[in-house]
Structure formats: structure tokens, C-alpha cells
């Protein structure tokens, strides 16, 4: 049926909104939807061909109706595509703001793909390279924009958390070995399976990156 695939895409978009991570780009469905639109367009041209540009809907209501249905289907598909991409783009922007290193991940997976061929990269990096090439480009450029914007005010971290800290010090537990990190007042060695009571400001970045888990 016309529009089935579009619906699927919208459902994906809806689900994406509640996921913590961006799921892989549904290039198959997107391609099928565009193909459907193209098919519909061809149908319309074929139907209109015999009339040589002098089509009067009042004379042939049946043809007019089928044209209308096809047109509406095309428009709906377009809206579905737009909605899907918009949802993803918003999510990417959100990730840029929250500072998760999404372009780097995407780049890494791209390098993988270049080195080892698409098949292997798909197998091992399916979780990582969830962006389409266009989206990657978008993310990169958005990052650049953001960086330029932030660069105007060096003394404020615009991407920092908006919630005021409740405590100066917090408890964090180390999930991954992060090695030694430099803070304002010296170095901290973060080893797995230990718990720290440290200044929140020192470790905020690491919490965002998933090295540390904040307790309570």
C-alpha cells in the first residue's frame, strides 16, 4: 500500500525521540520511500500524457480522483521523510550541545569502513556508525558553528549543565579506566572499581563521557 513505508519511518522517528542513543539511519526505508514517490510521479505523468496539457477535472472525475490520491500520497511521503530527518537532526544537535563526542565516533567508524571494507565495518560498527554520511557532515558543521558561537564568550561554558550543582563535592564511581586526569589542583588517577569523593567541577566532563557514574 502507498504510505506504509512512510508510516514505518515516522514510527522510527517517534521511537528515536525516547531513546538515549541515536539508532542507525534507516537508509533502506528512506530509499524505498523515495522510490515510491518517484513511481507515483511516473504514474501521474503517464496518466496525464494523453491529455496533452488540457485536462479538465470536471469532465473526468475518475481520473481526477486517482490523480488526487497519488498527489496526496506523494505529499504525505515527503512529510514523513522530512519528519524523520528533522527528528534525527534535532537529536544530533542535542548531542552536540550535551558534548558527547558524536562526530569522533562517526569518524572512527568511517575510518574503519575505509580501511576494512564496508561489510566488516557494518558488522562490527553497526552500533557506532548510526549516522548517514550527510548527517555526519551536518553534525560536523553544527559542531563548528557551535564552537564559533561559544568562542565569543570564553568565560562561560555554554554547553555546561544548566542545573545548578547541589553540592560542591560529589560521589562518583569509576566505570572505565580513565588513567590520570589533570584538574585545577593536581592530578587524579581514575582506576576502575574505585569510588571518589571529588569536586563536581573536576569530573563533570567525565561523567558526561560515561567514564564515571554519579551516585545519588
Amino acid at each position: 500500500m502507498y504510505g506504509d513505508l512512510g508510516l514505518k519511518l515516522v514510527q522510527h522517528a517517534k521511537r528515536t525521540q525516547s531513546l538515549p542513543k541515536l539508532p542507525p539511519y534507516q537508509s533502506d526505508i528512506v530509499r524505498s520511500v523515495t522510490r515510491e514517490v518517484r513511481d507515483l510521479d511516473r504514474d501521474v505523468t503517464e496518466i496525464l500524457e494523453p491529455f496533452n496539457g488540457h485536462f479538465d477535472p470536471a469532465e473526468e472525475p475518475a481520473t481526477a480522483c486517482s490523480l488526487l490520491v497519488r498527489h496526496l500520497c506523494m505529499r504525505r511521503n515527503k512529510r514523513c521523510l522530512l519528519a524523520y530527518h528533522r527528528a534525527r537532526a534535532e537529536m544530533i544537535e542535542g548531542m552536540c550541545w550535551s558534548g558527547s563526542d558524536l562526530p569522533e565516533q562517526a569518524q572512527a567508524s568511517q575510518n574503519n569502513m575505509a580501511e576494512e571494507g564496508a561489510g566488516i565495518a557494518l558488522a562490527e560498527g553497526s552500533g557506532v556508525s548510526s549516522l548517514s554520511p550527510e548527517e555526519e557532515e551536518y553534525a560536523r558543521q553544527y559542531e563548528d558553528l557551535l564552537a564559533a558561537y561559544k568562542g565569543q564568550w570564553t568565560d562561560i561554558d555554554l554547553t555546561g549543565s544548566l542545573e545548578p550543582p547541589r553540592d560542591l563535592f560529589i560521589d562518583v564511581r569509576v566505570l572505565k579506566d580513565a588513567g590520570e586526569i589533570q584538574t585545577e589542583y593536581g592530578a587524579i588517577t581514575l582506576t576502575k572499581n574505585s569510588q571518589f569523593f571529588v569536586r563536581q567541577g573536576d569530573v563533570e566532563r567525565l561523567i558526561a563521557q560515561g567514564f564515571l557514574q554519579k551516585l545519588n
Binding site: 593536581g186 588517577t189 572499581n193 574505585s194
Partner: protein, 685 residues
């Protein structure tokens, strides 16, 4: 050096003054047991209130301690304090950890200071090097400091003098003595810091003087040796010690008190009877009891009364309720915000509030061993007891909260009436209960059981995930025998060890979280029940099948089959089993009127790594006959030394890694040789 009890608060002030205010300069090393866990919680509470950044690192064994030394302590410029909770008391800690700081910058020492190490440990005997060594660091930061619960102050005077004279050349002629033979270090450890061999001093002219000195030296040596030769025993639980630090600082509150109570109750569960002596003479305790254990309980009781206002009689409504609750166990809070700790009668069956009366009685080690629950007649005896009390079995098998109100009310009275018929005196005693609003009510002993269960078995959910992660490994291990060219078996076992300690540490954190999270505690209740079920099942099987062999110097039980083998790969789970078995045997022997009881050795197979975990327990801690002094000595466990000696004398492949001296790991093939060696040791008997 050591910090006597009254000076704990000034030691804390010293810590606060010298710790870095923004960077974690304090490293808390915490052993994997409930008491240390509670102690760590208490200490971190204090540090947090002062905004002192710190770091907690759980440590499973000596090997890991070395790793930590390498990665975190050696050359760590920021580090000022290492606080060992529940570990390190038996060894010369200065030999283990690089406390000197960066290394070659001796000249910088004045500026930067050294790392100071606090030892807070229940295990005795103290390594005298920790207690009496290194007096130099008094003024600044540095050196090893032991928290003294009173043992050192009251009992170690003679040993202290002897040790100082022997190892420090202040009195020159005595300096030439070797240290006592039983330095309690695991063989795998870096060589103990021994004093240098006797520097041949030109003899003082008079021969007589020399002989006198030699005699003096022999005397001191024997003092020190006899201190070490007593075996191992336990002092006051460290959570209690840290609680007294908190109360010295005036910062005690219900949370800390609860932690201390849980820590102390846990000691009773795993058989760490406080066997270190008669009640303290003096000090801040000010409570006179007949034993030290009573004394500690008395102090806790006073603290509970002090911090929790007595029941404010609500007009009208509660007069009825409170009178009934004084008889039956409290299972619900009085009000949604009720988080008080209360004194309440406590039966010596665990988890009764969350189990059925029958199960709870059946699985209790106190009741089970006295009633000979492992045999059919024992179970009948339990049924008969219940019948005499007028409790129908169908009622007893319901969960306790749903039992008849009348029965619940009369439980204590009837139990006290009929228990003596079965030799169950003291089945009811004073305990502590805490409520968390309407979310739940747990007694201290129950919490200790649950935390112990979490430490040993892990959270249910995480267990299954860890199983799923380990299954590929297990299957690969299953494949390995087909292709015996295993790349490197040593490597494989090391990996297995790492995985095991990884698991233990994950368990540590879930226990750490559960300690202050009632929901997590409640969800872990089944774990504790599983553990007690496993103990009963395995213990029954061992006794029924007569698998406890009697050797010349000790009894031996080996767990190598059955559904619960994997449970008992954890040393403290195995210790609990050993305790259960020990009590059972003791009861049996009492019936046969035996005076002398052989100690018990329990070994359990860890199939994954191909080793046996061996635990030695001394029986007869609770026999109350003859001289008190004698009994006290007999409560001390001599297996620690025996294990060391066997490790030296046979060439069995043995690893002493646990902080518990009485736990040892022996390679599967070498168990027979090890036991043979052990049976030759007269120390054990």
C-alpha cells in the same frame, strides 16, 4: 606507632589538617567484609561532612594490595594518607606499601611529607612492626599508625618493650636479634623488612655482662614469639571503633550508629567472637559487663536509647499498639517518617520478619545445630518443640507477617518456656531494629546477613548477567581439555582469578549501595536466604554421608560436589559453613561428654581455577568450662600459623592471599600433601 582510643579524634583532626582540600589525597583501602564495609561508610560520612575529598578502593587480597601499591601509591605525589580498613594488621604494612613517597627525594621530605598509613583492623595479633615501629613520624605526617581498641594499651606493654629493644639499636647490644620466626607475611609477599643481621660489635670486656645481655635478649624474644604464637583472633569490630571516633567528634547520629550496629552484628554471625579478653577496665566506655562482647552491646544499647527518644505516647491510639509490639516483633514502622532504631527482642533465627517461622528456625545455625537438624530425628524434635509451644505447622510455614496475631504475641513467652527443654537457652536476646518509614523494617542481624549474602553471592540480577558473560569462557574452558595445548594455563588461571576478584568487587559495590538503600536491601533478602539454605543443605549432606573425616590432629570436611559448590568458593561463605559444621560437631561431642575438641578444616573445590579453598576453624569457642583464661586462649585460631608452616615445609602450591590468615588456597593436586603436612603440625591440636 599506635593511636590510643582517647586520641582518635585528635588523629582525625590531624588528618583533616593535612589532607588536600580539593584533590583526593586520602586513599581508603577496604577489605571485602561487612564490618569493613560499615566502617568505610562511617568514615566516609565523616569525611564528607568535612568536605575532604577521598577515594575508596576495595581490596580482595594481598596480591591486589601489591597492584594498588604499584599503581596508586608508588610515586603518587598527591597522596597523603592511606587508611586500611580491615586489612593489613597481620603484616608489616610498611613492607607492602611504598609509604616513603616519590622515592629518591629524601631531601624534599621535609617539604612534601610522607604518606601516612592508618591501620584499622580487627585481626590480631598485631604485627609488632606496625605498632611499635617507626616512632619518628610523630610530629609530621607519615609512618604507620594503628587504631587501638584498647588491646595495645592494656595488654601489649611487655611485648612493646621487648620488640623495641630487639629491633631498634637504641639499646645497642640487643639489636642483634633476628625477628621472631613467625612474621605473618604470606610467602608470596615481598620479603619482609628484616632487621639486618647482627653487626659484630666488639664485645664489652666483661663476659658476665654479655651473658646477661644474652639472657635478656632471649627473654624478650620469647615474649614476642609467644605473642605471635597464640594464633589469630579478633579484636573489637572496626565499625565500632570508628563509631567511637564519630562520637568523640560529636557527630554521631542514627545513621552512623546503625552502621556500627550492623558491623558488630556481622562479626557475631561469622563467628568473630570478640575473644580478646576480659572487659575493658576503663576508658571512654564506662560500661561494666561480664565480657567484652556484653560491654560493646551495652554501649550500643545506651547509644540507641540516647539518640532515639523513647516512645512518645500518642494520645489514645498507640497505647494499645505499643503494648502489643513490646511482645511481638516489630514489623512495621509507627509513622511514615519513622526511621528510629529500637531495642527489640531478637531470636536467634535469622530473617524471621521476612521468612516463615519454620524456615527461619530450620536454617538458623544456633537452633539447627542444637536440635541436630540434619537428621530426621532432629527435624522431629523441631516439630515437637513447635507443638509444645502450641504453634501449628501450617501456621509456622506461613510468612511471619501473616501469622496469627495471638501466636506472634505469645511467641517469646512460650519459646522462653520450652526452649530450655531442648538446651536452647539464650535463644532470645536483645537486638536492634530499624525502620525506614513504611518501606520496611529490618533488624541489625538481618541486615548483616543480607550484606554478607550480597558480598558472597552478589545481586541476583547481576549474577545472571555475569553468568552470561562467563558462559563463553566456561564453554571455552570446556573445550580446552579436548585440545590440551592450552596456550598458557597459568595465564588462564590468572584470568580466572582476575574475573573472580572482579566479581567480588562488583559485589562489594552492590553491598555498599545496599547498606544505605532500603529497597536494595529488601530485594537482596532472597540472596541471604539462598545462602543459608545452601549452608544447611551442604552441611546436612556432609554430616549425613559421614564425610567429615577424623584425622589425628583435626577434622576434615571437603565440599566438592553438590549443587552449592560454586557458592562456597567464596572464603567467607565457606567460613560460615565451617562455623555451622563446627557447632554441629561440638554439640555432638558434648553429648558424648568429650572435653577436648579437635579443630575443623573445611575445603571447597573451586573448579574453574582448579584450587581448593581451605578454611580452618578452632572449635570450642563457646565451651564454658574451666578457666576463663584457658578458654580465651583456646578461642584463638592457630591455623594461620600452621598454614604458613606447611606452606614452607611442603612444596605444595599454596597461595595465601586472603587477609584472613586462616584461609588458604591449595592447588587441586596438592591438597593431599597439604593436609598431610598439616596433620603433622602439633600446633593445631
Amino acid at each position: 606507632m599506635y593511636i590510643p582510643r582517647p586520641l582518635l579524634s585528635s588523629a582525625y583532626a590531624h588528618l583533616k589538617a593535612h589532607a588536600h582540600s580539593t584533590n583526593p589525597s586520602i586513599l581508603l583501602l577496604c577489605a571485602l567484609d561487612t564490618d569493613s564495609l560499615c566502617a568505610a561508610r562511617i568514615l566516609t560520612h565523616l569525611l564528607k561532612q568535612d568536605y575532604v575529598p577521598h577515594k575508596i578502593h576495595p581490596v580482595a587480597g594481598y596480591r591486589e594490595l601489591e597492584n594498588i601499591n604499584k599503581t596508586l601509591i608508588k610515586g603518587n605525589e598527591e597522596l597523603r594518607f592511606v587508611i586500611c580498613l580491615g586489612l593489613g594488621g597481620l603484616v608489616d604494612i610498611a613492607a607492602f606499601l611504598d609509604l616513603g613517597g616519590g622515592g629518591a627525594e629524601e631531601e624534599e621530605e621535609g617539604r612534601r611529607g610522607r604518606v601516612e598509613c592508618w591501620l584499622v583492623d580487627v585481626r590480631r595479633p598485631w604485627n609488632l612492626y606496625n605498632v611499635f615501629g617507626d616512632e619518628g613520624g610523630k610530629a609530621g605526617v607519615g609512618g604507620v599508625k594503628c587504631f587501638d581498641d584498647g588491646d595495645i594499651e592494656e595488654e601489649l606493654e611487655g611485648e612493646g618493650v621487648a620488640h623495641t629493644l630487639l629491633s631498634y639499636p637504641s639499646s645497642k647490644a640487643l639489636a642483634s636479634s633476628p625477628p621472631p620466626a613467625h612474621s605473618h607475611s604470606p610467602p608470596s609477599s615481598p620479603s619482609q623488612k628484616l632487621p639486618l643481621p647482627p653487626p659484630e660489635r666488639p664485645p664489652p670486656s666483661a663476659k658476665l655482662l654479655r651473658r646477661k645481655l644474652r639472657r635478656l635478649r632471649a627473654k624478650h624474644e620469647s615474649t614476642v614469639t609467644s605473642y605471635y604464637m597464640q594464633g589469630t583472633w579478633y579484636g573489637e569490630p572496626i565499625s565500632g571503633l570508628l563509631y567511637s571516633l564519630a562520637s568523640d567528634l560529636g557527630r554521631e547520629d542514627n545513621d552512623l550508629l546503625w552502621l556500627a550496629i550492623v558491623g558488630i552484628s556481622s562479626g557475631e554471625i561469622i563467628g568473630r567472637g570478640i575473644a580478646s579478653g576480659p572487659p575493658r577496665k576503663a576508658g571512654g566506655l564506662g560500661w561494666v559487663g561480664t565480657t567484652r562482647e556484653d560491654q560493646i552491646r551495652g554501649v550500643l544499647r545506651d547509644e540507641v536509647r540516647r539518640l532515639n527518644s523513647p516512645e512518645a505516647p500518642h494520645p489514645g491510639s498507640s497505647s494499645n499498639a505499643s503494648s502489643s509490639s513490646s511482645n511481638s516483633l516489630q514489623t512495621t514502622a509507627r509513622s511514615p517518617s519513622d526511621t528510629a532504631i529500637r531495642l527489640s527482642p531478637e531470636y536467634r533465627f535469622m530473617l524471621i520478619r521476612h521468612w516463615s517461622l519454620y524456615d527461619s528456625m530450620l536454617h538458623s545455625s544456633f537452633l539447627g545445630t542444637k536440635l541436630h537438624i540434619w537428621s530426621e530425628s532432629g527435624r522431629k524434635r523441631l516439630h515437637k518443640l513447635l507443638a509444645k509451644m502450641g504453634f501449628s505447622l501450617s501456621q509456622c510455614k506461613q510468612s511471619y507477617t501473616h501469622m496469627d496475631m495471638d501466636l506472634k504475641r505469645s511467641l517469646r513467652e512460650r519459646l522462653e518456656k520450652y526452649a530450655p527443654l531442648y538446651g536452647l537457652e539464650g535463644v532470645v536476646r536483645e537486638g536492634f531494629v530499624r525502620c525506614w518509614g513504611f518501606r520496611g523494617c529490618l533488624s541489625a542481624a538481618d541486615v548483616a546477613y543480607v550484606i554478607g549474602g550480597l558480598l558472597e553471592m552478589g545481586r541476583k540480577g547481576s549474577n545472571s548477567t555475569s553468568d552470561s558473560t562467563t558462559t563463553p569462557i566456561a564453554s571455552s574452558a570446556g573445550k580446552a581439555p579436548e585440545a590440551p595445548v592450552d596456550p598458557d594455563p597459568a595465564d588462564e588461571t590468572r584470568k580466572e582469578e582476575a574475573r573472580e576478584s572482579e566479581n567480588w568487587i562488583a559485589n562489594f559495590w552492590s553491598a555498599y549501595d545496599a547498606l544505605e538503600d532500603i529497597e536494595a536491601l529488601k530485594s537482596a533478602l532472597p540472596t541471604a536466604m539462598d545462602l543459608t539454605r545452601a549452608i544447611l543443605r551442604t552441611g546436612t549432606a556432609l554430616i549425613e554421608k559421614r564425610q567429615i573425616r577424623r584425622l589425628r590432629a583435626f577434622r576434615l570436611a571437603v565440599v566438592k560436589e553438590g549443587p552449592d559448590v560454586s557458592t562456597f568458593t567464596h572464603p567467607s561463605a565457606l567460613s560460615k559453613l565451617a562455623l555451622w559444621l563446627g557447632e554441629a560437631i561440638l554439640e555432638q561431642e558434648k553429648e558424648h561428654r568429650k572435653k577436648r575438641h579437635l579443630p575443623l578444616v573445611v575445603a571447597s573445590l573451586n573448579e574453574r581455577r582448579g584450587v581448593y579453598v581451605v578454611v580452618g576453624t578452632a572449635l570450642g569457642t563457646r565451651v564454658d568450662d574451666e578457666d576463663a583464661e584457658l578458654e580465651r586462649r583456646s578461642g584463638r585460631n592457630k591455623f594461620g600459623m600452621a598454614f604458613q608452616e606447611v606452606a614452607h615445609s611442603t612444596n605444595a602450591r599454596i597461595r595465601i592471599d586472603s587477609f584472613e590468615a586462616t584461609v588458604v588456597e591449595v592447588r587441586k593436586e596438592d591438597l593431599a600433601g597439604f593436609l598431610e603436612g598439616l596433620s603433622l603440625k602439633s600446633v593445631v591440636g
